[in-house]
Symmetry: C2
Subunit: 459 residues, 2 copies
């Protein structure tokens, strides 16, 4: 029997034990946002480290940070010629409010209809634990893994990972790898695995227009003042042309065109108008007519107003010309747009639109890089083969419109391509009754075992 | 000695007594907004009624309303052939906050440098009392007035006069008059009396754009949704053309052009760019280039955004497509625009701009009519002569950009032209240290005496 088969057998033989351990893990209420759970987050980190040690990983350590700790462990026995995979996940969970809507207590895991119900079951303790148990299976069944593995688990993902990027930058040698593997996402449905190969970047701006020294009476001054709220409206209206294209000059200059192959792959993703309608509550989509709905929301750069404010917002009417008004505006970016350059283009443009009657403050709150992994890379091809072997179906390849900052950090700071190997579904993550399909937990472990073998074979 | 001279003499001889009575009136804290002052407002009404009786007015009555009472009194002895003047004022006052900034207690009137400091000194107890004391002077000195007078004083002006229009509509016979006289405004400076002959009307709208069923993640849906905050921006931007003209089709159709004489009169008003700059804190005016600054803010119709809201307004960034966004937008109107028609034109236009991706709610909060009194009318000419006789200088004629709803009510419901005969200055009304120049109080009484005599002579 091959090493692969022995590892898979081990995993199948120990399913109940692995599930029991996951349940124990899920009992720890590691809610990172709430100060009263600080000790629980620490306890979850230590429980996880101990479990990793017992799985056979070495150099396991709980690294303190200015916030919640990072847990690290590795197995480097495959030798310098074998590829090294950096695995990422997070052991912190979302708060449980509104608690009344849970059918079973969020930290007392319960199995119903093949689903494991608990806060963190899918996001991300369950998906993280897949990796620990896959390594355990390979180590116990065969004494080793076909690749070197480094595991990095954080406790602050649900609060925006404030200390993870500093940790990565300070531990570049420790974390050096050939590729990264992240399981914190979903597949399309139980029969359709998918691989995310691209994420959009972000430039988040705020524009504040300041006019008169104080709110003015619109009766006394109306007609003589370039109203700051009007200026904000004029800026917002100027951001798009009548076809839904972003009208900021130079915005599209560095956009890498979608290849025919990518468009073919994206066309195979079962993303329907009906699904979009159900999720948004809207009747018909808006946007660039020459791109499909999925392309618009995942592979095209966009610009959205996230909030507007200024002047009187109460009930009824108050006749003022507001002293100031503002808008929060963010842009989703794709390869090869540079977020810093886009911020500059944005600022130049909105200043030109605003004119010189108001004072304009333009703030760049946040820049995040897009990420993309080559469809032809060894990692993507190995992941596709691993899914196919386990789920009996070739995965579809898709891009996602949102950002996962750590992915761009790995890509840019560690130079690793990143494979997003999700096992979740729409599991009520961040909501009451979060759950994880137990079959997906088991299949996840087998998929990872397959992946390492395929990756070793291709490298 | 003529009746006019005897009345003026009486007024001069009783200045100290009139001032003492005003001080007594100002000691009553008739703050209409605050429930704890309800009894004080009632007391002020009764004090005023008693003072009117002692002045010689008849049919004096405190009319209860659903809110604070209306005080009425009249002298109809001039006979059916003499004109009847309806005098309006209000005996309620603004709250006193911030109390710390008063140099003397707001309800303990104090005289400093010829100014009487107290809440209500200028707005409007002091100006209202001018009329009671002018009638008293004429009645005591000559046994009558050259015109019939009806006095209507309300106690709810500072809370928007919610019960005054109903009162007027229910008492049309009681209040029937040939013209109205209102002293609740200011002159330009102590040497430059002025007569307001026009006020703008108002149409106050709110536009609410509703898109997705809930706030959407801008990463997941950005590029496929006509963002409601974007729609609000597009509506706002479409309200004006590049020359600052209102772009709503039909908006200017009914605007009565300014006559050459009016433009000449307005050009004589000492309203300077420097004054505008100081008041607004702005560098340069905006608006219709073919009209002067004063014309823009007083005699031209305008459109202003009073407030915008929607989506994320907190610190930093949140990447949502807001489910809804809105704007409060009001238009100042001039003769002969119909506020109801303007509301319809506005709604039609913003619906056409918004397109059909969002659901648009358009609310008409409030419509108020403009008011204008013919410069050649007997009332305006008599008022001009009365000011000139008292202040030694012919008044300038101006229009104001704001609205005084009761003026339009008198004009439209009672059919009376309205003379706005102000005696205030920039007296810190609505602010700490409100004051009224004592000389203006005395001059006001004489101006009214002159006015009645001139009006009787012209009619």
């Amino acid at each position: 029997m091959s090493e692969l088969e022995r590892s898979l057998d081990y995993a199948r033989d120990h399913q109940q034990q692995h599930l029991n351990e996951l349940i124990e893990f899920l009992r720890i209420p590691s809610v990172s946002t709430l100060p009263e759970h600080r000790a629980d987050v620490q306890r979850a980190a230590e429980w996880l480290a101990e479990n990793m040690r017992r799985a056979g990983l070495s150099a396991v350590e709980v690294f303190p940070t200015a916030g919640h700790p990072v847990v690290y462990g590795e197995w480097m026995g495959a030798g310098p010629d074998a590829p090294t995979v950096l695995v990422y996940g997070h052991y912190d969970v979302q708060p449980v409010d509104p608690i009344d809507l849970w059918d079973s207590p969020p930290f007392e895991p319960e199995i119903r209809d093949g689903e494991l119900y608990a806060r963190g079951a899918s996001d991300d303790k369950g998906q993280l634990f897949v990796h620990v148990k896959a390594a355990e299976a390979m180590l116990n069944a065969t004494g080793g893994l076909p690749v070197n593995v480094k595991m990095l688990f954080e406790g602050e993902e649900e609060i925006g990972s404030p200390h993870l990027e500093p940790f990565v930058l300070e531990h570049k040698d420790l974390l050096a790898a050939d590729s990264a593997l992240v399981s914190d996402s979903r597949i399309l449905d139980s029969d359709t695995p998918c691989i995310l190969y691209g994420l959009r970047g972000l430039t988040y701006m705020e524009v504040i227009a300041r006019g008169p020294a104080r709110d003015l009476h619109s009766g006394t001054y109306g007609g003589s003042v370039h109203n700051p709220a009007q200026v904000i409206g004029e800026i917002i209206a100027a951001l798009h042309d009548e076809n839904g294209r972003v009208a900021i000059p130079g915005f599209y200059d560095d956009v890498r065109p979608l290849t025919d192959e990518e468009r073919e792959q994206l066309a195979r993703v079962p993303y329907s108008l009906e699904q979009w309608q159900e999720e948004t509550g809207l009747d018909k989509p808006w946007g660039e007519p020459e791109y499909t709905l999925l392309e618009r929301v995942s592979a095209r750069p966009t610009c959205d107003v996230n909030g507007i404010y200024g002047g009187f917002q109460g009930q009824g009417g108050k006749t003022i010309i507001p002293a100031m008004a503002g808008a929060k505006i963010s842009m989703r970016l794709v390869p090869d747009q540079d977020p810093n350059r886009i911020a500059e283009l944005f600022e130049d443009y909105v200043r030109s639109v605003a004119g010189d009657h108001v004072e304009l403050e333009v703030i760049n709150h946040n820049n995040g890089w897009w990420a993309i992994t080559d469809l032809d890379s060894a990692e993507i091809q190995a992941a596709a083969a691993a899914y196919e072997a386990t789920w009996g179906k070739r995965p579809v390849f898709t891009r996602e419109g949102g950002s996962i900052p750590i992915v761009a950090t790995f890509q840019r700071e560690l130079g690793t391509p990143v494979v997003l190997m999700g096992f979740g579904l729409d599991d009520n993550i961040h909501s009451p009754n979060e759950h994880f399909r137990i079959k997906h937990f088991y299949r996840g472990i087998e998929t990872v075992i397959h992946y390492y073998h395929r990756l070793a074979a291709r490298s």
